[in-house]
């Protein structure tokens, strides 16, 4: 390709960026109608950008993609879904491709594509699952990383110090808010492992037979709205997720004013403090839960100090702040590409004049 052709291509790339025609593609996996916080996170990033003039699309493997309409609200339907197989997307150098760690196995194939490439790490435990031993993501052009917590950022920088790592916590939706009605004697339970889920409930009923009338609400197979509606009427949440990186469920609970009994995950969430009833020892969970419930039915309320801590915990995750953060990070990512195009253009033009 001649310098003139290159200059033309780069100038049109700049033009597309300036006109808002560049696209941010979010590679997304199909949850087959199952609600997943990790997929909602991707849709939230895309929707925030789309609503603020940055064209965003959901990129899926094929047209069999079921989508999220069964569990996310109507507003997400404004996001265009395109498939790799059928739509044959052509990624331009001004486009951005965001790839979650789930699809890390595709990175070698994407190595030659010259768009802006961003790795999205929500679950740092999966980082090495498909990466060839000893390899680096930057070898495939993924030198920018978005993750959800400061501790995940620290971890990524420890092994991939060449990366530029941005932190964007999930959006804790405003449909999570306390209800006016009195709370009900229900426990909202969220356990990653179904065996643990069963074990905790069984242990609870055996250890506290006088509380057999307490209902455990299994917080799965619900739309996002149903999820928040069900969560906010519970008197307490129970959370067990050793692999969690961020821990959306406890924050959603706190935003509803529902206190949390939980096992601290292998990676301590950034927000962990005296804002709930936490234990490192899973065998203590049932005792903690039973004690809290017995106190609750006796009318003992949470102290103002704990309520304040729950409220303060949520401050950094304010929806507006997070949305501003999303916009400024993607602006910064694109600006870096603009700088790089500008500098290449200057170089090419100088070569032309010589």
């Amino acid at each position: 390709m001649s310098n003139q052709e290159n200059i033309g291509k780069l100038e049109s790339a700049l033009g597309r960026i300036n006109n808002g025609d560049s696209v941010v593609y979010f590679l997304t996996y199909d949850t087959k109608t199952n609600a997943r916080a990790s997929v909602k996170y991707i849709y939230d990033l895309a929707l925030t950008l789309n609503k603020n003039g940055r064209k965003s699309k959901i990129l899926v493997e094929d047209k069999n993609y079921v989508g999220v309409s069964s569990w996310l609200s109507e507003e997400y339907s404004e996001l265009e879904v395109v498939s790799i197989k059928e739509d044959k997307i052509e990624l331009k150098i001004d486009d951005t491709l965001v790839v979650p760690e789930y699809y890390a196995n595709t990175m070698q194939q994407l190595a030659t594509i010259r768009c802006i490439k961003v790795l999205l790490v929500q679950q740092k435990e999966y980082l090495f699952e498909t990466l060839p031993i000893g390899s680096r993501y930057s070898e495939f052009g993924f030198d920018k990383v978005i993750t959800t917590t400061e501790s995940a950022k620290k971890y990524i920088l420890e092994y991939f110090p060449e990366s530029l790592v941005y932190v964007i916590p999930p959006i804790i939706g405003d449909n999570f808010k306390p209800i006016e009605l009195p709370l009900k004697p229900y426990v909202a339970i969220s356990c990653r492992d179904r065996a643990v889920h069963r074990k905790v409930i069984s242990e609870f009923y055996l250890k506290f037979p006088q509380l057999r009338w307490i209902t455990f609400r299994d917080m799965v197979q619900m739309s996002y709205d149903e999820f928040s509606t069900n969560l906010k009427e519970c008197m307490v949440s129970l959370w067990v997720d050793d692999e969690s990186t961020f821990g959306t469920f406890p924050l959603e609970s706190m935003k509803c004013g529902v206190p949390v009994v939980g096992k601290i995950p292998d990676t301590e969430p950034d927000w962990l403090s005296e804002n709930g009833m936490w234990t490192y020892d899973g065998s203590k969970l049932v005792e903690l839960l039973g004690t809290y419930i017995l106190a609750w039915i006796d009318g003992i309320e949470l102290t103002q100090e704990v309520l304040d801590k729950m409220k303060n915990t949520l401050e950094p995750y304010d929806t507006i702040k997070t949305k501003d953060n999303i916009l400024s990070i993607f602006t910064s990512i694109v600006n870096k590409r603009v700088e790089s195009i500008d500098s290449t253009l200057t170089k090419l033009k100088q070569e032309e004049t010589v």
């Binding site: 006016e180 009195p182 009900k184 006796d298 009318g299």
Partner: protein, 259 residues
């Protein structure tokens, strides 16, 4: 303006009863701004009960007729002029959360006329034995969690009338306790209310403490006192009687017979 009357039936006042009464009154005193007390008792106790509490507004209602539990409650209801009433047994007590927790629900559930607290049952030694009224919240137990319905009551009898908050007008319309029904008068009462569409709800907070099987209590007598002891067929009879009688507002002659 006090809008709740606590009805306390009393048939004697010996030293043991004085201790129990003192404890029961102390538990009512914590709500003295909102609650007044009606003690229904025979005339010979009236004088002794005057000035029994400095904090409480007390009305002594003399019952010179029947002094059984149901008749005394019924007289208390008849004389009650507040919007709500509750029943307190002399050996029981309200827990501090009772009024606040029930009020939280009264404010919201306007169509509910009976609010039952969770009752903490203790034995005469003061040890916890069980909860009562809580089953309304068990998943799948009733049609609507928290509410007691007639269908459930036909299979499950264990609900406690004492400690509940009752809308006076609604109870007067639907009839009060039937004193000629032994053992299951409370059960019949709830069957009748729910059959007539009265909404009965359990507030999921422990608002009342009940002593089970105190010596010389009515239910202790039914179980242990040779002269009053109920046999198994008799218990069955009274259960079946409750299931037949709840269609009627007022008491009817019950012909006692067991097979």
């Amino acid at each position: 303006m006090k809008n709740i009357t606590v009805i306390l039936p009393l048939h004697k006042l010996d030293d043991d009863y004085k201790v129990m009464l003192d404890n029961a009154l102390t538990s009512v005193e914590q709500f003295h701004d909102d609650v007044k007390l009606s003690i229904v008792c025979p005339s010979n106790l009236k004088k002794e009960l005057e000035n029994i509490s400095e904090k409480l507004e007390i009305e002594i209602i003399v019952n010179d007729g029947q002094t059984d539990f149901c008749s005394q409650i019924n007289l208390g209801i008849e004389k009650c002029n507040t919007e709500w009433f509750s029943i307190l047994e002399v050996d029981d007590e309200y827990k501090p959360i009772w009024l606040k927790s029930i009020n939280d629900y009264v404010k919201i559930y306007k169509d509910v006329d009976v609010f039952l607290p969770i009752v903490k049952d203790i034995n005469p030694e003061g040890k916890f034995t069980s909860f009562t009224n809580e089953s309304a919240w068990a998943y799948g137990f009733t049609e609507m969690q928290g509410f007691i319905d007639n269908e459930v009551l036909l299979d499950f009898q264990n609900y406690q009338i004492s400690g509940g908050l009752y809308r006076t007008k609604v109870i007067k319309e639907n009839g009060s306790l039937k004193e000629n029904i032994k053992l299951t008068f409370g059960y019949e009462f709830f069957l009748r209310l729910t059959h007539n569409g009265v909404r009965v709800m359990t507030v999921p907070k422990v608002g009342y403490q009940h002593v089970n099987m105190r010596d010389d209590s009515l239910f202790w007598e039914y179980k242990n006192n040779d002269s009053n002891k109920l046999t198994e067929p008799e218990v069955k009879f009274w259960l079946e009687t409750a299931k037949k009688e709840f269609f009627f507002k007022n008491k009817r002659d019950v012909k006692y017979e067991t097979v």
